[in-house]
Amino acid sequence: MRAVVVTFPGSNCDYDCLQVLRKVMGVDTRFIWHRERDLGDPDLVVLPGGFSYGDYLRAGAIARFSPIVEAVKRYAGRGGIVLGICNGFQILCEAGLLPGALRRNNSLKFRSHDVHVRVETKDTAFTRAYRAGQVLRIPIAHAEGNYIADPATLERLEAEGRVVFRYTTREGARGEGGNPNGSANDIAGIVNAAGNVLGLMPHPERAAEGVLGSTDGLGMFESLVAHCARARVA
């Protein structure tokens, strides 16, 4: 399996994603600079977190015009697997690969702490290693994670089972206590209609080694490795 992690000016979780894929999962992983136009032939493209272009104007608004994003769009159009974490999720929304937008947290503050997210569907390339309904403890670190979309879009996301992660309490219950940023429908992560592009605000790569306190994020990378192995065979 081969993975690429796209680095934009201002990305700051690129190294973390590379480390997890390379060192923890043993995946052949390399960085790709945002100016490049060719992704090569990877099995997985990761848009990492950070502050691409300082998040000036709006988070992800400038990064989406980087040359590599055109290549990512073509790759996703062919069914390639794309994972956008935090700023990566914001870029995917700005680029139109995922619906909706991420606005400032309702607290108007940057929020950095562990949250609980419930796996709403295990029926994706990103979540098969989890149990449906499993509650994960994963850190967030963002100022703009308040997901919003028009009512019709939200309805469609729900109806099609495309809300993949939802903020909940530790016990898996929805409600005020679990949602850290005011996201519509407590949405923490969504997938596109074809099921190959996922964006989420929490950082699974920060919860993939015991020494860091949680391994709940590891399941996502395990799911992806298993999926790509199957896809290669097929």
């Binding site: 104007l57 608004a61 015009f65 909706g100 937008a101 606005r103 309702n106 919003i148 979309a149 005011g182």
Partner: protein
């Protein structure tokens, strides 16, 4: 060609909750400013643009907004084109 000073106001889309505006409204209220209604916080962009006519300038600014400066999901924009009197004809 003339130089135009274009002012673009980007505001949170009407009807959407604007947490920043709400916080400001609350702060004004608690500072004793009576009669403060809804507050909406957006941004103002001032762009110098060379164009043949005000209409052309406005049209180009609109495209800028649609493509980059405003997010159609969450934001509205308004454009005002003014002649920048201090600026001579643009030299190339």
């Amino acid at each position: 060609m003339s130089a135009y000073a274009i002012e673009i106001r980007v505001t949170p889309r009407r009807g959407l909750l604007d947490p920043q505006g709400k916080a400001i409204q609350h702060a004004l209220d608690s500072l004793g400013f009576a009669g403060v209604g809804e507050v909406r916080a957006g941004k103002l962009l001032v762009i110098e643009l060379d164009a043949d006519s005000p209409d052309e300038a406005a049209a180009r600014a609109t495209r800028m907004c649609e493509k980059l400066l405003a997010n159609p999901v969450t934001e509205d924009f308004a454009i005002e084109v003014g002649r920048n009197a201090g600026q001579p004809e643009a030299a190339t």
